[in-house]
Homo-oligomer: 75 residues x 7
C-alpha cells in the first residue's frame, strides 16, 4: 500500500476510504474512481460501517468530490 | 455508474444532480453539460422534485456553475 | 440551450444574463463577450429590466468581469 | 466596444477605466497597458476626473495591478 | 540531506517526517510516497514516537495528504 | 513608461518602487529584479527616502517578494 | 546579489535567510535548496544567530517549505 499518492488511490479502488475536506466535513464511502487532480468518486457502502469516525458522513449515492477541496484521504 | 469523475458526469447527463458549492449553497437540477474543469450546466426540472434535500435551490433557468466553486456533485 | 458551458455562453451572446460573484454581488446585463477562462464582457441593457432579481446591479457601461470571481451565470 | 475581454481591453488603451479589486479598493486611471493575465498598467489622468465614482482612488503615478486581484474593469 | 525540495523528500522515504498543514493540524508518520505536487503518503510508525511534537497526530492508517495543504515538512 | 506590465517592470529596474501586498504591508525599495510571475527582488535605497508613503517599510537587505502576494507596484 | 528572483536564491545557497510565510510565521535558517516554485529547504544554523529578528523560528532540522506559503525571503 506504499508508493506514490495516485498509486495508493489505485490500490484503494473498491475499498472504504475516509476523506477530510477543507470545510471540515468528512466523507466515508467506497472509492469508485479518481483522476490525476484527486477528484474522487465515492459510493455508498452496503454495510454502512464508519468504524469509529464519529463525525463522518456515510455516502449513500454516488458522490463526486472535486479534488481541490481534499485535505486527506485515509485508506 | 462507477469510474473516473468525468465518466460519472458523462453518465449523469440529463439526470437530476445535487451540487454543493464552497459558499454553502446547494443547487438541484438536470445536468445539461460539463467540461474538464467541472464547469457545469444545470437546467430546471419540470417535476421540481428536490427529494428530501431541504436547503437546495431548484434551478429554474439554464445555470452555468464555474467549476472552482464546486465541492461535491451527487447523482 | 443545452451543451458544454462555453457553448451555453456562445448561445447567450447578445442576451441578458445574471452573474453571481464570489463576493456576493450580482450583475445583470447583455453578454457581449467571453473567453475560455469565463472572463465576461457585459453591457448595459437599454430596457434596464432586471426581471425580479432585486439585488442585481444593472450594468450601465461596458464591464469586464474576471472569470475567477464568477460563481454562476444564469441565462 | 463589444467582443472578447482582451479585445475590450485593447480598445480601451489610453482611455479612462475604473478597476474594482477583491480587497474592495477601486482604482481610476488611464489604461496604459495589459497582458493576457489581465495584469494592468494604469497612469494618472491630467484632468483627474473620477466622474461620480466617489470611492475611487485616482492613480497619480504609473501603477501595475496584478491581474488576480481584479474583479471588474469598467470602461 | 541538502538539495532541492523533491530530492529531500526522496531521501526521506521510509523515515519519520512531521507535516504542518495550513489548517493548523500536524501529522507525524513514515513518508511512504510523494509526487511532484508534494502530495504525500504517510504511514503509521510502529514505535509511535512523536519526539516532543506535542500537538502532532500520529498517523495510524495509510494517509494521503494533498500537497496544496502543506506548509512545511520537517525531516 | 507605458506598455505591458512586464515592460514597465523592465523600465523600472534600478528605480524606486512601492509594492502593496495582499496582507496590507507595503514595501519600498530599489527594483533589482523580477520574473514573469511578478516575483520581485527589492534592495535597500541608500537615501532611504519613502517620499510620503507613511506606512511603507523601507527595504534594507535584499528581499524577494513572491509574486502571488502582490496587489500593486507603483513606479 | 541583484538579478532575477531565482538567481538571488541561487546566490543565497548556504547562506542564512529569513522567510516570512502567509500565516505570519517567520523561519530563519541556512538555505540548502530551492526549486522553480520557490519551494525551499532550510537547515539549522550551528551558530543559531537570528540577528535581531525577534519573532523568527530558528530552524533546527531540515525543513521543506512549500513555496505557495512564502511572502518574502530576505537574504
Amino acid at each position: 500500500m506504499s508508493g506514490r499518492p495516485l498509486d495508493v488511490l489505485e490500490a484503494s479502488l473498491d475499498a472504504l476510504v475516509t476523506v477530510h475536506l477543507k470545510d471540515g466535513t468528512i466523507y466515508h464511502g467506497v472509492l469508485a474512481g479518481y483522476d490525476q487532480h484527486m477528484n474522487l468518486v465515492l459510493e455508498g457502502d452496503d454495510v454502512g460501517d464508519v468504524h469509529g469516525e464519529l463525525d463522518a458522513t456515510a455516502v449513500q449515492d454516488t458522490t463526486i468530490i472535486r479534488g481541490d477541496n481534499v485535505v486527506t484521504i485515509t485508506t
